[in-house]
Symmetry: C2
Subunit: 287 residues, 2 copies
């Protein structure tokens, strides 16, 4: 018997579409319904088999066992409010957002808090849309769940089974802990990459467009700056305090290196770079 | 007939070793001699066929048609001075350093300036050593030559033929132009990546080591921070003025984004990220 009878995925982009595909492949739900704002993207999702069918009626979309909000973070609360009037008393609400504390609080304000479970599968990329979705996106990746004090243990267990069912490793932690960690290992690097591209864009030197001289290093560093602006605008604004702190910490580390360079401190600079190189050499993606 | 009779590659790491392998494969030199400070690395180079043989005697190493300095930037001038006493009057001196103006000036101070040609193949990676070298490293990559007013056109032509012979595209430009461009598209991203790793290393939140939550985005952004500290210490210190300017420009771009986030300016932030995403989406490695 499938884990879930009916599920609606609201937003069938890279994450939502991949979740639909993975659930269908694993037989986790009897009906995977796709709901969204862009008809074209929904059609891509249907034609690629990411969902069983498209639902355009809010009432029908809400009449399910589980709703997965997979829209930009700042659209989620309004979307939940639209579903609320038509949902069952027992409908569980979850999301896949990269920011958790304030988003989950907003969802709990419009939904029975015992039926809300925040989730964040750490499996994005700079790609986006249903066309980029794939059923194995979550295989061996980490999905963080952020249950609150009011979360029904059964709802939490369902989400754990769902994410493990699509191949993810699941770890539960407080939403604030999630936000502080992700501000540093994900949101900060995105802002840094966007800033780096902005610093170099359109710059010419001696009549030469400097981006014509980009090597593989610059391509790596800036890859995530190709990520969808709308999604990262919402993440940055929603996780503002933690991100501001992370930016300050990065600023200190950057100033430290700049000072070693300016001073010509060869010994100190080599030691600093060596420490970083060793750390990076041992870093492998776990999330 | 090969382009060159005898060549010495001083430093058979990733770049020097790959150049040896590529020259041997293309039959560009009759004798490719390897000279270096680390016996173990030289042995790896020889056993991998990157060089014809190891030369430990400075006099023998200098008695060649071409010397390629492929050591950390700040070791090159002293190395050239050691070779000088034993070199032929006609021996051409080149290098592969990521910084050109001050390095070439230092080489010209100890060598016949007409026989000095600065070169920079933009083909590195975070890998290093003879074990990472490969004959196709320069295929379709850009090699920048920085001849000065005194450079003998025949010496420049030889270097152009050499780099084209190993598959590179060659572009000549003034050394100062090279340094200003590379400060931005290469040296700056390295310092940013090193700083990012340093900001995150050893940081725990709520008892969790945050690097355990690194996703593919962070791995991409920080990949080049695994590069050899000694090489990048020398590059940063040698290209100090241009790098300091690039760091200031990056600081402005980062502060701009931080301000948009702090202000909660959703429209301005989305526009800024969108511009960067479009630029990055169109960016392909040309160097």
């Amino acid at each position: 018997m499938p884990l879930i009878e009916r599920v609606t995925i609201a937003g069938v982009g890279l994450i939502g579409g991949s979740l639909g595909a993975a659930m269908r492949r694993a037989g986790l739900a009897t009906h995977v319904l796709g709901f969204g704002r862009t008809a074209r993207n929904l059609q891509v999702a249907q034609s690629r088999g990411l969902i069983d069918r498209i639902v355009t009626d809010v009432a029908e979309a809400a009449d399910v066992d589980l709703i997965v909000l997979a829209a930009p973070v700042r659209s989620c609360a309004a979307l939940a409010a639209r579903f609320r009037a038509h949902a069952r008393a027992t409908t569980i609400l979850t999301d896949v957002g990269s920011v958790k504390a304030s988003l989950v609080a907003d969802l709990e304000a419009v939904w029975d808090p015992s039926r809300v479970v925040g989730a964040h599968p750490i499996a994005g990329s700079e790609a986006s849309g249903a066309g980029a979705a794939r059923a194995d996106l979550f295989a061996r990746r980490l999905c963080i769940l952020t249950p609150g004090p009011q979360t029904d243990p059964a709802a939490l267990a369902l989400l754990r089974a769902l994410w493990e069912g699509v191949g993810a490793r699941v770890e539960a932690m407080p939403a604030a802990t999630h936000d502080a960690i992700l501000a540093r290992v994900s949101h900060l690097p995105h802002v840094v990459a966007y800033a780096l591209v902005r610093a170099l864009a359109s710059r010419t030197i001696d009549g030469r467009s400097i981006l014509d001289y980009a090597g593989s290093g610059l391509l790596d560093v800036t890859r995530i700056a190709a990520s969808p602006a709308e999604i990262w605008r919402d993440i940055a604004l929603t996780n503002r305090p933690a991100l501001a702190e992370a930016l300050r910490e990065f600023g200190v580390a950057l100033d430290d290196l700049a000072r070693l360079i300016e001073r010509g401190d060869a010994v100190g600079l080599e030691r600093a770079l060596q420490d970083a190189a060793r750390t990076r050499q041992h870093l492998v993606g776990k999330a």
